[in-house]
């Protein structure tokens, strides 16, 4: 590759044609759904349409222009992207300013919602940044390379500071609730993120290590949650006693489901597990006298710390945490306690995974993922090996589920829809299969961010979907995908 990207000639006619095509396609795509809004007629009953031409035309022109700029950027022409991006931003700023000033021009913003308007501006911003980056690199043509090299650099960087990263993350996680800016909301979000980190690490054993595509992971989560809710309410089992029960029950369900289906081809397994997840949800919803049906279960007892409860007034025979330590009662104590419980669970899951990766069972999982036929020829029992992975993954989900029930104090089938499975799987795959830190990054990105921007409710899931697609295209192997061997011959006792 002697020719640098900058030298590549551009076929401008062809580019123009393709840009126009992109615009026309956008026009067709949006012609009905974007261009016309169905609204109920004033007298009710049927529907009528309200046009939204401006949004449609802006979208079509915008996409044509952006397509053109991106294509030029790809062949090393940074200037048009820079100018175009800045022009778009300037136009937006003028319109936004006009709106604030109450000028008539202010009505001409492309979309009706300010979130979409601002969100769309991310496109020119990233265009400008990319263009600047490219110009910066232009002096060093060798740096203008494909994604392959970049990926190596990223993974290598991570590997070099692997230990440091891990320690740093744990330190941050431990310190977070005591940070000056930490309010109840932040700790709550942290708890939620950690729940998903634990789920992600659990599912990583099934999908990342054993290569079994499980789309119904949330079912085990649900089983754990309901196990704790029902045993604590019906038999008065404490959280810490119910935890192993929930884990074991979820693992048993994993084995019962896995036994017949684990020999299926990967994609069939995916759909069967998906079906299983839906079945569990439907059963929970309809078995109302047992599970409370769609209304769910209320007043689930909160966990205690060695018998110390987190309440203002202790129930009979128990002591409150605040009283025991002679400090005043604050509601946030419980929030912080729950945060540390899930942090401990998550770290426990991580430790388990790190340990088991050095054991034959985990190597057999990975070998099965690589080539099941070869495994059989080596005398490895594929079904039992897969079942173990499935059961262990289910166990962690069950425990996370108990925690979820204990933290919320209320559960209903709505928390266990397919979307949850998809989100957990997305965390694992986006994070990079098999890497532990990748899961954390993905969980923060996919759960923490949207949760933090909860006020943008309606747009949250849209951004989530777009994010999933974009990250996959940007890094098909996940944000951090790297596997280092679990044992070395020539590197002494060096740990990966």
């Amino acid at each position: 590759m002697a020719v640098t990207a900058v030298d590549r000639p551009v076929d401008y006619t062809d580019l123009a044609k393709r840009s126009v095509a992109a615009g026309v396609i956008t026009l067709i795509l949006g012609s009905l759904l974007v261009g016309l809004e169905t609204v109920p007629t004033p007298n009710g009953g049927s529907m009528q349409l309200e046009p939204r031409y401006r949004a449609l035309i802006c979208a079509a022109v915008g996409i044509a222009v952006v397509y053109c700029l991106v294509e030029l950027l790809k062949v090393g022409r940074a200037m048009p992207a820079l100018i175009g991006g800045l022009a778009m931003l300037a136009a937006f700023a003028v319109l936004e300013w006009a709106k604030i000033q109450g000028l008539p021009l202010g009505d001409q913003l492309p979309f009706n919602s300010w979130v979409v308007n601002w969100g769309v501006m991310l496109v020119p911003i990233s265009l400008v940044l990319r263009a600047l980056l490219m110009m910066h690199r232009a002096g060093r043509p060798a740096a203008v390379q494909q994604a392959g090299h970049k990926e190596d650099g990223f993974a290598a960087f991570y590997l070099k500071y692997n230990k440091l990263f891990g320690t740093l993350l744990i330190a941050i996680a431990v310190a977070l609730p005591f940070a000056p800016f930490a309010d109840r909301r932040l700790v709550d979000i942290g708890t939620l993120v950690l729940t998903y980190v634990m789920l992600g690490w659990g599912l990583n054993i099934v999908v990342g290590l054993a290569g079994l595509l499980d789309l119904g992971y949330v079912a085990f989560y649900a089983i754990g949650a309901y196990t704790y809710a029902m045993t604590s309410i019906n038999f008065g089992l404490s959280f810490w006693l119910a935890l192993p029960v929930a884990g074991a029950l979820a693992a048993s369900f994993g084995i019962i489901l896995g036994f017949p289906v684990l020999r299926l081809r990967g994609d069939y397994l995916a759909i069967v597990t998906l079906g299983f997840g839906e079945m569990i949800r439907i059963i929970i919803t309809n078995w109302w006298w047992f599970t409370g049906g769609p209304n769910g279960i209320n007043d689930i007892p909160r966990p205690s710390l060695f018998g110390l409860v987190f309440e203002r007034n202790a129930p009979k025979g128990q002591e409150t945490f605040a009283h025991f330590f002679g400090i005043g009662y604050l509601p946030i104590q419980r929030v912080i306690f729950l945060y540390f419980v899930i942090l401990m669970f998550a770290l426990g899951t991580n430790l388990f995974t790190l340990r088991i990766r050095k054991l034959p069972i985990s190597r057999a999982w990975e070998a099965l993922r690589e080539d099941e036929t070869a495994c059989r020829a080596l005398g490895i029992n594929p079904r039992n090996t897969k079942l173990t992975a499935f059961a262990i993954g289910a166990m962690f989900a069950g425990m996370a589920g108990s925690f979820f029930a204990a933290r919320q104090g209320f559960i209903s089938p709505e928390s266990f829809v397919f979307l949850e499975s998809a989100v957990i799987l997305a965390i694992v795959v986006l994070g990079g299969l098999g890497t532990q830190i990748g899961v954390v990054l993905a969980a923060v990105l996919l759960i923490g961010m949207p949760e933090y921007f909860r006020s943008l409710q309606d747009y949250r899931m849209l951004a989530f979907g777009i994010g999933m697609v974009l990250i996959m295209i940007w890094r098909p192997g996940g944000i951090l995908s790297h596997r280092s061997p679990t044992i070395f011959l020539n590197r002494g006792k060096a740990k990966p």
Binding site: I25, I28, L29, S31, L32, L33, V34, L36, E37, T38, V39, G45, S46, M47, Q48, L49, V207, L213, P260, V261, L264, R265, G266, D267, Y268, A270, I271, V272, L274, G275, F276, E278, M279, I282, I283, T285, N286, T373, F418, L419, A422, L425, A426, V429, L430, L433, D458, Y459, M461, L462, F464, G465, I466, G467, M468, V469, M472, I473, P476, G477
Partner: protein, 304 residues
């Protein structure tokens, strides 16, 4: 007996709709071996396109039902087919040749994206649709129970049969079908022999989306209302149908669709409506355990 017959008719209709969606799954799986998770949402988009087209035609005063129906069909199919093409182009093509999981995740993301896109643009509420094709044949009366075939049901089944035969012709007789089958067998070899693989795959998505749009329009007319969430459940059922019939097989997809429709309707009629989806999945699991290749699928003998 009357109930059975009535449920039979309803099941066939529903099954025809599932079958049309299932074809999209089966073709895509056959050709690139991925579960196009967003296909159910393409069908939902088809239904919305059809709804908006109906209202639009009403606005222009085109109310003669046969003309309106055909126009809506054409508009919805074209626009939805472009969605199919775009989804493949944006979310799947860049991931061709990467790990098996990457396109699946991308597809799940696409599915979430499309659902929320429609929800944001058209609102979360149910969209009602006036009944255009009222009436039907009275087949039989037993103890005051009328077994009725609605004209709409006849239309749905007839259109499905017509589309299916056309489709079978397309796959078995035309160069496109040949290119498709070749790509399915061996993508690299097909490319070496001059098959435009990218275009063939794109066309597969376009055709699948077109059929899903037809199914969407049928469902709109049949149930008289849609919302942005209909794609998920229908998508799963249609995929189940595709697997049940043997993934990769067109007649299998249709057969699977009809069976799923019948199972669902019969279960609702005789046992419980709540558990109809559980029944569907249970049967899927059974089939996969005892006949993993589906009913009409080719057995795949492991090459060692």
């Amino acid at each position: 007996m009357a109930l059975f017959l009535q449920q039979m008719i309803n099941g066939l209709t529903l099954g025809a709709i599932y079958g049309l969606i299932a074809i999209g799954y089966t073709m895509v799986y056959g050709i690139i071996g991925m579960i196009n998770f967003a296909h159910g949402d393409i069908y939902m988009i088809g239904a919305f396109n059809a709804l908006i087209a109906f209202i639009l035609l009403g606005f222009f005063g085109i109310t003669w039902v046969p003309l309106a129906l055909s126009l809506v069909l054409i508009i919805a199919v074209i626009v939805t087919a472009v969605y199919g093409w775009t989804v493949e182009r944006i979310a799947y093509r860049p991931l061709r040749g990467s790990t098996r999981l990457a396109p699946l995740i991308s597809a799940i993301g696409m599915s979430i994206l499309l659902e929320n896109y429609v929800q944001l643009l058209q609102g979360a509420r149910n969209k009602p649709m006036p009944n255009l094709l009222e009436g039907g044949f009275q087949l039989w009366t037993e103890n005051g129970f009328n077994v009725q075939v609605r004209y709409l049901q006849v239309g749905i089944v007839a259109l499905t049969v017509a589309l299916m035969s056309g489709f079978t012709m397309l796959i078995t007789r035309t160069p496109l079908g040949r290119a498709q089958r070749a790509t399915e067998q061996d993508r690299k070899m097909a490319a070496l022999l001059g098959v435009n693989v990218d275009r063939t795959i794109s066309l597969t998505f376009v055709l699948g989306a077109g059929l899903a749009a037809v199914a969407g329009m049928m469902v709109l007319l049949y149930y008289g209302q849609i919302d942005f969430y209909i794609g998920f459940v229908a998508g799963i059922k249609a995929f189940t149908a595709a697997v049940l019939g043997g993934i990769g097989s067109l007649p299998g997809a249709m057969l699977g669709g009809v069976l799923i429709g019948l199972i669902e309707v019969m279960w609702s009629g005789y046992f419980s409506v709540e558990y109809k989806d559980v029944a569907t999945f249970a049967i899927l699991v059974m089939v996969l355990i005892f006949r993993p290749t589906g009913l009409l699928g080719r057995p795949d003998l492991e090459k060692v």
